[in-house]
Protein backbone atom coordinates (compact mmCIF):
# COMPACT_ATOMS: atom_id res chain seq x y z
CA UNK A 1 0.00 0.00 0.00
CA UNK A 2 1.31 3.45 -0.91
CA UNK A 3 -0.25 6.83 -0.20
CA UNK A 4 1.36 9.93 -1.67
CA UNK A 5 0.36 13.59 -1.17
CA UNK A 6 2.47 15.94 -3.24
CA UNK A 7 2.48 19.28 -5.04
CA UNK A 8 4.51 18.06 -8.02
CA UNK A 9 2.98 16.33 -11.06
CA UNK A 10 3.14 12.54 -11.05
CA UNK A 11 3.95 10.28 -13.98
CA UNK A 12 0.69 8.43 -14.49
CA UNK A 13 2.01 6.07 -17.17
CA UNK A 14 5.02 5.05 -15.10
CA UNK A 15 2.94 4.67 -11.93
CA UNK A 16 0.32 2.58 -13.74
CA UNK A 17 3.01 0.41 -15.34
CA UNK A 18 4.90 -0.13 -12.06
CA UNK A 19 1.81 -0.80 -9.93
CA UNK A 20 1.49 -4.48 -9.04
CA UNK A 21 3.95 -5.37 -11.81
CA UNK A 22 5.46 -8.79 -11.40
CA UNK A 23 2.56 -9.82 -9.16
CA UNK A 24 1.35 -12.84 -11.10
CA UNK A 25 -1.11 -13.72 -8.31
CA UNK A 26 -3.20 -10.66 -9.14
CA UNK A 27 -5.32 -10.97 -12.27
CA UNK A 28 -7.07 -7.61 -12.18
CA UNK A 29 -5.74 -4.06 -11.98
CA UNK A 30 -7.97 -0.98 -12.01
CA UNK A 31 -6.82 2.62 -12.14
CA UNK A 32 -8.80 5.83 -11.82
CA UNK A 33 -7.34 9.20 -12.74
CA UNK A 34 -8.92 12.57 -12.05
CA UNK A 35 -8.19 15.35 -14.52
CA UNK A 36 -8.81 19.12 -14.15
CA UNK A 37 -11.62 19.99 -16.54
CA UNK A 38 -11.81 23.37 -18.20
CA UNK A 39 -15.57 23.41 -18.30
CA UNK A 40 -17.66 23.05 -15.19
CA UNK A 41 -20.33 25.45 -14.11
CA UNK A 42 -18.02 28.05 -15.63
CA UNK A 43 -14.90 27.95 -17.76
CA UNK A 44 -11.82 27.82 -15.59
CA UNK A 45 -8.27 28.98 -16.15
CA UNK A 46 -6.74 27.15 -13.25
CA UNK A 47 -7.48 25.50 -9.95
CA UNK A 48 -5.82 25.57 -6.57
CA UNK A 49 -6.13 22.69 -4.19
CA UNK A 50 -5.69 23.38 -0.50
CA UNK A 51 -5.22 20.52 1.94
CA UNK A 52 -4.64 19.83 5.61
CA UNK A 53 -1.05 18.60 5.97
CA UNK A 54 -0.88 15.74 8.42
CA UNK A 55 -4.56 14.94 8.40
CA UNK A 56 -4.59 14.39 4.63
CA UNK A 57 -2.10 11.53 4.74
CA UNK A 58 -3.89 9.95 7.71
CA UNK A 59 -7.31 10.24 6.09
CA UNK A 60 -6.09 8.70 2.82
CA UNK A 61 -4.31 5.87 4.62
CA UNK A 62 -7.44 5.17 6.65
CA UNK A 63 -9.61 5.06 3.52
CA UNK A 64 -7.12 2.72 1.82
CA UNK A 65 -6.93 0.47 4.89
CA UNK A 66 -10.70 0.29 5.06
CA UNK A 67 -10.79 -0.77 1.39
CA UNK A 68 -8.32 -3.55 2.21
CA UNK A 69 -10.55 -4.88 4.96
CA UNK A 70 -13.63 -4.85 2.72
CA UNK A 71 -12.14 -6.41 -0.40
CA UNK A 72 -9.46 -8.95 -1.14
CA UNK A 73 -6.76 -6.64 -2.51
CA UNK A 74 -3.17 -7.41 -3.35
CA UNK A 75 -2.13 -3.78 -3.54
CA UNK A 76 -3.48 -0.23 -3.30
CA UNK A 77 -2.02 3.06 -4.49
CA UNK A 78 -3.31 6.58 -3.86
CA UNK A 79 -1.61 9.72 -5.21
CA UNK A 80 -3.21 13.13 -4.69
CA UNK A 81 -1.77 16.51 -5.61
CA UNK A 82 -2.30 19.93 -4.05
CA UNK A 83 -1.37 23.44 -5.14
CA UNK A 84 -1.94 25.05 -8.54
CA UNK A 85 -3.19 22.95 -11.47
CA UNK A 86 -4.31 23.87 -14.97
CA UNK A 87 -6.99 22.19 -17.12
CA UNK A 88 -5.87 18.85 -18.53
CA UNK A 89 -3.50 18.19 -15.62
CA UNK A 90 -3.94 15.06 -13.55
CA UNK A 91 -5.09 15.82 -10.00
CA UNK A 92 -4.91 12.35 -8.53
CA UNK A 93 -4.97 8.63 -9.19
CA UNK A 94 -5.92 5.49 -7.35
CA UNK A 95 -4.97 1.95 -8.35
CA UNK A 96 -6.19 -1.37 -7.00
CA UNK A 97 -4.99 -4.91 -7.74
CA UNK A 98 -6.89 -8.07 -6.89
CA UNK A 99 -7.29 -11.68 -7.97
CA UNK A 100 -10.66 -10.91 -9.52
CA UNK A 101 -12.03 -7.86 -11.28
CA UNK A 102 -15.04 -7.32 -9.04
CA UNK A 103 -12.83 -6.61 -6.00
CA UNK A 104 -10.53 -4.33 -7.98
CA UNK A 105 -13.42 -2.32 -9.47
CA UNK A 106 -15.44 -1.99 -6.27
CA UNK A 107 -12.43 -1.03 -4.17
CA UNK A 108 -11.41 1.66 -6.70
CA UNK A 109 -14.93 3.11 -6.67
CA UNK A 110 -15.00 3.02 -2.88
CA UNK A 111 -11.65 4.82 -2.69
CA UNK A 112 -12.90 7.51 -5.07
CA UNK A 113 -16.20 8.00 -3.24
CA UNK A 114 -14.43 8.47 0.08
CA UNK A 115 -11.62 10.54 -1.36
CA UNK A 116 -14.18 12.98 -2.77
CA UNK A 117 -15.95 13.69 0.50
CA UNK A 118 -13.75 12.49 3.37
CA UNK A 119 -10.21 13.51 2.51
CA UNK A 120 -9.36 17.10 3.53
CA UNK A 121 -8.89 18.74 0.13
CA UNK A 122 -10.63 21.90 -1.06
CA UNK A 123 -10.68 23.11 -4.64
CA UNK A 124 -10.75 26.76 -5.67
CA UNK A 125 -11.42 27.73 -9.27
CA UNK A 126 -9.96 30.76 -10.99
CA UNK A 127 -11.77 32.11 -14.06
CA UNK A 128 -10.39 35.43 -15.25
CA UNK A 129 -10.74 37.70 -12.23
CA UNK A 130 -13.35 35.48 -10.57
CA UNK A 131 -12.50 32.98 -7.89
CA UNK A 132 -14.81 30.42 -6.38
CA UNK A 133 -14.51 27.57 -3.91
CA UNK A 134 -15.90 24.42 -5.49
CA UNK A 135 -19.03 23.39 -3.59
CA UNK A 136 -19.41 19.81 -2.40
CA UNK A 137 -22.07 18.03 -4.44
CA UNK A 138 -25.00 16.26 -2.82
CA UNK A 139 -24.50 13.34 -5.18
CA UNK A 140 -20.94 12.87 -3.90
CA UNK A 141 -22.23 12.67 -0.32
CA UNK A 142 -25.03 10.34 -1.46
CA UNK A 143 -22.47 8.08 -3.17
CA UNK A 144 -21.16 7.08 0.28
CA UNK A 145 -24.47 5.51 1.21
CA UNK A 146 -23.98 2.50 -1.00
CA UNK A 147 -20.98 1.27 1.00
Amino acid sequence: MRVVVQEAPFDFGAEAEAFASGRSDLGAVVTFTGVVRDTGDAARDRMEIEHYPGMTEKALAKIAEEARTRWSLGDVLVIHRYGALTPGEKIMMVATAARHRKDAFEAAEYLMDYLKSRAPFWKKEFSGTDTQWVAARDEDEDALKRW
Binding site: A59, M112, L115, K116, R118, P120, K124
Partner: protein, 81 residues
Protein backbone atom coordinates in the same frame (compact mmCIF):
# COMPACT_ATOMS: atom_id res chain seq x y z
CA UNK B 1 -4.94 24.48 21.71
CA UNK B 2 -4.30 25.11 18.00
CA UNK B 3 -7.40 26.05 16.02
CA UNK B 4 -6.96 25.74 12.26
CA UNK B 5 -9.07 27.11 9.42
CA UNK B 6 -9.14 25.95 5.82
CA UNK B 7 -10.56 27.13 2.49
CA UNK B 8 -13.20 29.87 2.77
CA UNK B 9 -13.27 29.59 6.56
CA UNK B 10 -9.59 30.59 6.55
CA UNK B 11 -10.28 33.39 4.08
CA UNK B 12 -13.24 34.72 6.06
CA UNK B 13 -11.35 34.73 9.35
CA UNK B 14 -8.26 36.14 7.67
CA UNK B 15 -5.60 33.79 8.95
CA UNK B 16 -4.98 30.03 9.03
CA UNK B 17 -4.49 29.43 12.73
CA UNK B 18 -5.21 30.66 16.24
CA UNK B 19 -3.53 29.54 19.42
CA UNK B 20 -6.27 29.54 22.05
CA UNK B 21 -6.49 29.00 25.80
CA UNK B 22 -9.96 27.62 26.41
CA UNK B 23 -12.04 25.78 28.97
CA UNK B 24 -14.52 24.70 26.27
CA UNK B 25 -15.64 21.12 26.94
CA UNK B 26 -17.02 20.50 23.45
CA UNK B 27 -16.56 21.76 19.91
CA UNK B 28 -19.88 23.61 20.22
CA UNK B 29 -18.62 25.48 23.26
CA UNK B 30 -15.41 26.37 21.38
CA UNK B 31 -17.49 27.65 18.46
CA UNK B 32 -19.49 29.86 20.86
CA UNK B 33 -16.25 31.37 22.18
CA UNK B 34 -14.91 31.97 18.67
CA UNK B 35 -18.17 33.58 17.49
CA UNK B 36 -17.94 36.04 20.39
CA UNK B 37 -14.45 37.17 19.39
CA UNK B 38 -15.10 39.34 16.34
CA UNK B 39 -17.59 39.83 13.54
CA UNK B 40 -15.48 37.91 11.05
CA UNK B 41 -15.52 34.87 13.35
CA UNK B 42 -19.27 35.24 13.81
CA UNK B 43 -19.60 35.36 10.01
CA UNK B 44 -17.39 32.30 9.49
CA UNK B 45 -19.37 30.28 12.04
CA UNK B 46 -22.82 31.65 11.14
CA UNK B 47 -24.05 28.39 9.58
CA UNK B 48 -22.61 25.26 11.15
CA UNK B 49 -24.35 23.04 8.59
CA UNK B 50 -21.86 24.46 6.05
CA UNK B 51 -18.91 23.48 8.22
CA UNK B 52 -17.05 20.33 9.17
CA UNK B 53 -14.75 19.84 12.14
CA UNK B 54 -11.75 17.64 12.90
CA UNK B 55 -10.32 17.13 16.39
CA UNK B 56 -6.70 16.02 16.39
CA UNK B 57 -6.97 15.36 12.65
CA UNK B 58 -9.99 13.05 12.89
CA UNK B 59 -13.35 14.10 11.45
CA UNK B 60 -15.93 14.40 14.19
CA UNK B 61 -19.16 16.18 15.22
CA UNK B 62 -19.79 19.54 16.82
CA UNK B 63 -20.84 17.91 20.07
CA UNK B 64 -17.52 16.04 20.35
CA UNK B 65 -15.63 16.53 23.65
CA UNK B 66 -12.39 18.51 23.62
CA UNK B 67 -10.73 16.95 26.69
CA UNK B 68 -7.08 16.46 25.85
CA UNK B 69 -7.43 17.80 22.31
CA UNK B 70 -4.42 19.63 20.94
CA UNK B 71 -5.70 20.64 17.51
CA UNK B 72 -9.16 21.53 16.23
CA UNK B 73 -9.78 22.36 12.58
CA UNK B 74 -12.80 23.95 10.88
CA UNK B 75 -13.43 23.78 7.16
CA UNK B 76 -16.16 23.45 4.52
CA UNK B 77 -17.25 20.05 3.15
CA UNK B 78 -14.31 18.46 1.39
CA UNK B 79 -13.92 18.39 -2.38
CA UNK B 80 -11.12 15.95 -3.08
CA UNK B 81 -10.67 13.55 -5.96
Amino acid sequence: MDVLYFAWVRERIGHPKDRIETEAATVNELVAELRAREDRYAAAFADLSALRVAVDQELTDFDAPLAGAREVAFFPPMTGG
